[in-house]
Amino acid sequence: MVLNKRATAVLFAGLLATVSHAAIAAESVNFVSWGGSTQDAQKQAWADPFSKASGVTVVQDGPTDYGKLKAMVESGNVQWDVVDVEADFALRAASEGLLEPLDFSVIQRDKIDPRFVSDYGVGSFFFSFVLGYNESKLGASKPQDWSALFDTKTYPGKRALYKWPSPGVLELALLADGVAADKLYPLDLDRAFKKLDTIKKDIVWWGGGAQSQQLLASGEASMGQFWNGRIHALQEDGAPVGVSWKQNLVMADILVVPKGTKNKAAAMKFLANASSAKGQADFSNLTAYAPVNVDSVARLDSVLAPNLPTAYAKDQITLDFAYWAKNGPAIATRWNEWLVK
């Protein structure tokens, strides 16, 4: 009798959970990004107006975790509907079968810069690795391009570089060594590491945006490779920080939909809204990252626009995400060997 009662209760609770889950699932999208000011801006520019217009609730979740994404897809219990990931990962995940193909009858593909769209992902925003320096540390000598990082006599102090084996560091080493921009790929790893060897003891590595800002603003590092939005934020705060956009290296974040999502249709609508001219421009105006929609440039804030990668397209090198998606793991092995050597 007791058992029976309990069994009924459990059954009922289970039923209730399923029903309520279905009710929520019908009109909600779980959006996952990296947190911090970026995700706040994504909420403000995309999620809030989208919810108001379509009635679809957007639940913010995060931070992005590739391991978690893979585990969800493999177990068939997908909780995330739209995820902000790095460009090379988007391609790698697509080739591993972790993503849903996008519905380009809903999303307007022809308005997206072709560098930042594929069958499985549409750009979230793009940004540049730029050469940032602390003016109070370097005084009158203003570094011009990546080769300044390797000139420790003229520009003393530590160099802050991005610590992960991902697009950026190897490319800038090769550029500084005189490799032409159109001859970068396939990467000459021996040459890149040999160049990096010359400043290995002067490098401090940063793993995240806040850390990179702390290193540069405090003068712990006199110069380095930074995300352009972080440099802009430092300048807004009045830190004595300068920037050179020469050979700025373009990297992007991509929005993807994990395979097996329960809210595919709503996710596609969300992506259409986020990648629209207005969604992209609104987000850029909040963050100083650049829009992937070609129609957004006209809508950018005129004060902010000169600080965005879109204003430096002439001297710009787009990192080869596809090359990294394919060769990333092998490069990482070399990278780790070099690091601990």
Binding site: G67, W164, Q214, S218, A332, L339, V340
Partner: protein, 314 residues
């Protein structure tokens, strides 16, 4: 030495005695031995919930994870080959254990006087100090790690003060290297030494030390031959806990260390998160577990009284 002898398990003692004395006494010993075994396992059924919980939610997923090391991407030992063929990974492993060893050493050296002070000061004060130690554990790990960065960096408080006093001309490099990792982690680990050690010290009867002095021991002899051996259970259990925790530490080394001091957890995270190479990651994890278990075995050999037994005695 005396403590070790009394604490060694009764089962082996009776067993060896029986062996030496021949077959007949051995027979007589059997019921006694099984009785003592029964006595020892009396409460075993209470363990079932914990064992079930651990089995279901820890052991089963762990085994699943370790299986990936031999099943992904293709079945076989390819991941282990890759791990052993590359000298860089041996270096990473060496880094991991030397950092854990150094951190254990320093937190023992710093935690010991602290635990002693807590034991010696009047009771109310001791509780206050202990609360302060505990309070530091409740503060966010990230916040504490960043505070060390502020203190230790080239333009940080310590370097500026030392340079203002004219003690140094060039800022000392205390962060983004091994020094930074060891300082930051030792600080975080000190409470894990102090808590068991302080409990052990509290339980030591002051009369024993007094007896030592009365018998003519100098303060030094009294410390090294009486007090320190009595603290051993606390030192060993605290040290072991810190060592094992340090092996798996990620945040602090990532922030305070340089990339050249990469430890195994960072390598594993890289494989799991960036490259979705779970086979290689799980091979790395398995290696860490095996080496830790081997060390744990030697620890048990060296330290017959188990930390659990010691804490039960109190």
């Amino acid at each position: 030495m005396k403590m070790a002898a009394t604490a060694s398990s009764p089962a082996t003692k009776t067993g060896s005695a029986a062996g030496a004395a021949g077959a007949v006494p051995a027979k007589a010993e059997v019921p006694k031995q099984s009785a003592s075994m029964a006595q020892r396992w009396r409460g075993a059924s209470n363990l079932i919930p914990a064992l079930l919980f651990l089995g279901l939610f820890f052991l089963a997923p762990l085994i699943g994870l370790l299986l990936r090391g031999v099943l992904e991407p293709v079945p076989g030992l390819g991941n282990y080959e890759q791990l052993f063929a590359n000298s860089a990974y041996a270096r990473v492993l060496l880094n991991t254990f030397s950092v854990a060893g150094l951190v254990t050493l320093f937190s023992l050296l710093l935690g010991f006087p602290l635990a002693w002070a807590i034991t010696l000061v009047p009771r109310g004060w001791g509780r206050w100090i202990l609360n302060i130690v505990l309070l530091s554990m409740w503060t966010s790990l990230l916040a504490r790690t960043y505070s060390w960065l502020v203190l230790l960096q080239a333009s940080g408080v310590i370097n500026k003060a030392l340079m203002a006093m004219g003690i140094i001309d060039q800022p000392l490099e205390m962060v983004h290297n091994l020094t930074g990792v060891v300082i930051g982690m030792s600080y975080i680990m000190i409470p894990f030494i102090v808590l068991p050690l302080q409990a052990t010290m509290q339980a030591i009867d002051p009369m024993i030390l007094q007896a030592g002095s009365i018998c003519g021991a100098s303060p030094w002899t009294n410390f090294f031959r009486v007090f320190l051996p009595l603290c051993r259970p606390g030192l060993f259990s605290g040290g072991l806990m810190v060592f094992v925790m340090s092996l798996g530490y990620y945040v602090t080394p990532a922030l305070l260390g340089g990339a050249q001091n990469m430890m195994l957890p960072e390598f594993i995270i890289q494989q799991v998160q960036s490259f979705l190479n779970w086979g290689l990651a799980s091979a790395g994890a398995a290696l860490l577990i095996v080496i830790t278990l081997v060390l744990f075995y030697f620890y048990l050999k060296l330290q017959p009284e188990s930390p659990v037994g010691a804490s039960n005695a109190r």
